[in-house]
């Protein structure tokens, strides 16, 4: 008696991007370095841009608080800086021979974002201290 299975049918990737070893190097390097870069950039406070929503002003780099301008937003800048640096590293990885990039441990892709969470929680200490004082 035969048994049918509903396990997903695995076929060869149809997209040329998915078959490309260079894209593999880019994607894995980008995703591994991204969480690390994000934490470092946020810690060192290197936003690519600063946005002032109250006056709809966008400036390059970090612009500290100014009178009568409302709050500034740095998160866009941190994210953009992270994407640019991670993409640059990904492009460098594309230039490295495949025999070297194949050795990058794939589990780092999901371990680094988990390791980033405690740092992110710590970086929000301002909020937790205010909450604790209540």
């Amino acid at each position: 008696m035969s048994t049918t299975t509903t396990a997903p049918v695995m076929t060869q990737p149809t997209s040329s991007l998915a078959r490309s070893s260079k894209f593999r190097a880019f994607a894995i390097t980008f995703s591994i370095s991204g969480p690390v870069i994000y934490c470092v950039i946020q810690h060192l406070n290197y936003p690519l841009v600063t946005y002032w929503p109250a006056i709809e002003r966008l400036v390059w780099g970090l612009e500290a608080a100014r009178p009568n301008s409302g709050p500034n937003m740095l998160w866009y800048g941190w994210t953009l800086t992270t994407i640019i640096i991670a993409a640059a590293l990904g492009i460098v990885a594309m230039l490295i021979p495949e025999r070297i990039t194949k050795k990058i441990p794939l589990w780092l892709v999901w371990v680094f974002p988990i390791l980033a969470i405690p740092y992110v929680v710590y970086s929000l200490m301002y909020w937790w201290r205010l909450a604790a004082r209540q």
């Binding site: 048994t3 049918t4 299975t5 509903t6 396990a7 997903p8 049918v9 695995m10 076929t11 060869q12 990737p13 997209s15 991007l17 998915a18 894209f23 593999r24 880019f26 994607a27 894995i28 980008f30 995703s31 591994i32 991204g34 969480p35 994000y38 946020q42 946005y51 929503p53 109250a54 409302g70 709050p71 937003m73 998160w75 866009y76 941190w78 994210t79 992270t82 994407i83 991670a86 990904g90 794939l106 589990w107 892709v109 999901w110 371990v111 974002p113 988990i114 980033a116 969470i117 992110v120 929680v121 970086s123 929000l124 301002y126 909020w127 937790w128 205010l130 909450a131 209540q134």
Partner: protein, 163 residues
């Protein structure tokens, strides 16, 4: 568009679109996470088995597109949040709520950078070399999206629609 409708309606509509995209993303990623965590080996009988038995690989591009769209709309709404929501939240001493929203923004960025590897692993689902990494990154991304959704939902209840 802002001259045709009130400011409140304008932002409420964007918040609603953000919610719809987030729901689609949440559904697709939860299907995938269940499919990799508890793969179905026998014909799907019950509703839970059928939920796990979806052709998960086909969701990868949709998840990436939905994540980016939801992220971009959320980034747009964030400008209004910073002025109209966060300042009153701080004034009313809702510090944990404010803190969790900042936590959400960081998690959203961490999730965004995972997408290239996530997409690549799923597009090469026939390659057993990527099985563990695909499972790990899908479960982490699904946990992140659930976190983003729940924090967004709680924040909306605190000061969201029509506030």
């Amino acid at each position: 568009m802002r001259s045709l409708i009130s400011t409140n309606t304008f932002w409420t509509l964007w918040l609603f679109v953000h919610l719809i995209c987030a729901l689609g993303l949440l559904g697709a990623l939860t299907h995938q996470a269940m499919a990799v965590a508890l793969p179905v080996r026998k014909p799907a009988a019950g509703i839970v088995s059928r939920f796990r038995a979806v052709p998960a690989a086909g969701y990868a591009t949709a998840v990436c597109v939905l994540y980016v769209i939801t992220f971009l709309i959320g980034s747009f709404i964030y400008t209004q949040y910073r002025i109209a929501i966060r300042i009153p939240l701080e004034a009313q001493h809702y510090y944990k709520t404010g803190g969790f929203f900042d936590f959400k923004e960081h998690v959203a960025s961490l999730g965004l950078v995972l997408l290239p590897a996530y997409w690549y692993f799923w597009k090469n689902a026939q390659n057993p070399e990527y099985d563990n990494a695909r499972k790990g990154v899908t479960l982490v991304l699904a946990a992140m999206v659930w976190f983003l959704f729940i924090v967004g939902h709680v924040l909306n209840n605190t000061r969201g629609f029509a506030s």
